[in-house]
């Protein structure tokens, strides 16, 4: 086996087995810190040993057993001087790897623990990327433009809090489950959105690494909770958004709006998969949550081969449905954008202007106003709105697109 093949086998094992190894060790040793460290050591050992020994027939089992030994070594080292009884227990506790079904549940436990509402949102994101996705601390620090030491401390503090406050390592009870699942999905959506529209002058406008991790984790949760409509909805939304990736940024590095995108470059396989999920949810005949409605809106857009074929009235109807369950001003703003396509920019502008109190600090509010004012021929006001949008926007490709539009005003 070549060095490259072995390296690929390690990478693949890391993708497929990391969360399983961390989850099963956390359950066995009751300690995320021990689980994380031992899992990392097991993968490091694989990198050293597999090129010489060959890739084991069952990499997951090999990694779990190796990580178990590393964890026991660490506990022995720490207990050497005091409790001999603990050591005796560990010696006998060399049980075989869990059956597959139980391990799946353990990954779910891991996800719910990392996304616990007693942790700050940014901590949940960092912990999920470390423990479940297996990203390294430097990778996570880079992803969120934070110093490595600060990110390391954030994760360390979170693990200490989980242990000290005894945040339970389990799937929440049925009555708490919907709220807790939505907490998990919020974490994944945040990771996805940061990838989709990355903020900051020194980062790529689209962060494929974050998008890929978000989709991978959502697929995992979908596999673990196939009956949950919102999980399916979020996955569909991500796939239908990701399908438009290559069309979203022009060769010149500008963000391209949905209306102007070259639809021939959209990924038809991802669109087909996203549409299948949306149809599955429609067939379930259960009142949809926000991710399912957002996915349905995305499905309407991606069903139109030509932008002129877009069924805007259906999109507005879906936004109306969304406003009823989520009356946030951002939803109202997006609804107004769709309204402009049916009732014209004048009507849409009136609706957008109503949102000024709540959205004056949001770049998309000003960008939408600028666009509507431009279409109404009010160049002077449009220019001022573009200026404000550019000032507030954080994504380099979006700033480039807004700047060009402003400079093209008559």
């Amino acid at each position: 086996m070549s060095v490259i093949d072995v390296r690929e086998a390690v990478t693949q094992a890391h993708h497929e087995e990391w969360a399983r190894v961390v989850a099963s060790l956390t359950r066995r040793f009751g300690d995320l810190d021990i689980a994380e460290e031992a899992a990392a050591e097991a993968f490091a050992t694989a990198v050293q040993r597999w090129p010489a020994d060959g890739v084991p027939p069952n990499p997951g089992a090999w990694l779990t057993i190796t990580a178990n030994r590393k964890a026991i070594d660490r506990i022995r080292r720490e207990n050497r001087r005091d409790d001999k009884q603990n050591e005796a227990q560990l010696l006998y506790d060399d049980d075989p790897p869990e059956p597959a079904g139980a391990i799946d549940d353990e990954r779910l436990r891991l996800i719910f623990t990392c996304c616990h509402p007693a942790l700050a949102m940014e901590t949940r994101v960092a912990l999920t990327l470390r423990m479940v996705a297996g990203l390294t601390v430097p990778e996570i620090a880079r992803a969120f433009l934070v110093q490595e030491t600060a990110m390391g401390q954030r994760i360390t503090r979170a693990k200490a809090k989980i242990k000290a406050a005894r945040i339970p390592y389990r799937v929440p009870s049925a009555e708490d489950l919907p709220a807790r699942v939505s907490g998990v999905l919020a974490v994944l959506f945040l990771v996805f959105n940061e990838g989709y529209l990355a903020t900051g002058p020194d980062t790529d406008p689209v962060r494929h690494d974050l998008i890929a991790e978000a989709i991978r984790l959502t697929r995992l949760i979908r596999a673990l909770m196939p009956e949950d409509g919102e999980v399916a909805g979020l996955l569909a939304l991500m796939l239908l958004t990701e399908a438009r990736r290559t069309a979203r940024v022009s060769a010149g590095g500008e963000l391209v709006t949905l209306v102007e995108q070259d639809r021939g470059t959209w990924d038809s396989a991802l669109i087909a998969e996203g549409h299948r999920l949306v149809r599955e949810r429609l067939a379930a005949r259960v009142a949809p949550g926000r991710y399912q409605i957002l996915a349905a809106i995305s499905a309407v857009h991606t069903s139109a081969r030509d932008v002129r074929d877009t069924d805007w009235s259906q999109i507005v109807a879906l936004y109306d449905q969304l406003v009823r369950i989520d009356p946030s001003p951002i939803i109202a703003l997006n609804r107004a954008i769709a309204v402009a396509e049916i009732d014209g920019p004048e009507v849409a502008l009136a609706a957008v202007d109503h949102l000024e109190d709540k959205l004056a600090g949001y770049h998309a509010y000003h960008a939408t106003r600028a666009d509507l004012l431009r279409r109404l021929g009010r160049s002077h006001k449009s220019r001022a709105a573009y200026d404000k949008a550019i000032e507030l926007a954080g994504n380099t490709a979006e700033i480039a697109a807004l700047t060009r539009r402003r400079d093209q005003l008559g």
């Binding site: 616990h116 509402p117 007693a118 000290a164 406050a165 005894r166 945040i167 339970p168 708490d176």
Partner: protein, 107 residues
């Protein structure tokens, strides 16, 4: 596992009769379900005295050790299997006493 559940207040007022009644109902439930360890309301921060006897002689200082708008008005000590149980209880306690609560584990 025991948790200190602190009552955070930022008003000078004591609990109203309605709040006291709701707290009593909540306390009875804590006792019935085995979560009760101890609870108590505290006098105003201005009634506190700080003692420092790390040096030659004990020094007594009038007033709370930290001046802030929000202060500790009372507390529960609860027995709970894990943080989820403690948080569920604290959510009900917050409703009962009509104040913010802080949940903190004992070591």
């Amino acid at each position: 596992m025991q948790y200190l559940v602190s009552v955070i207040d930022d008003t000078a007022g004591l609990a109203t009769p309605d709040e006291m009644a709701a707290i009593d109902v909540f306390n009875d439930r804590l006792k019935a379900e085995g979560h009760w360890v101890f609870a108590g309301g505290l006098g105003a921060p201005s009634s506190a005295t700080v003692i420092d006897n790390r040096g030659e002689e004990a020094i007594f200082t009038d007033g709370p050790f930290v001046e802030s708008k929000e202060y500790l008005a009372g507390f529960w000590i609860m027995e709970a299997a894990d943080l989820d149980v403690a948080l569920t209880l604290a959510a009900e306690g917050s409703k009962a006493c009509n104040r913010k609560l802080e949940v903190r584990p004992f070591l």
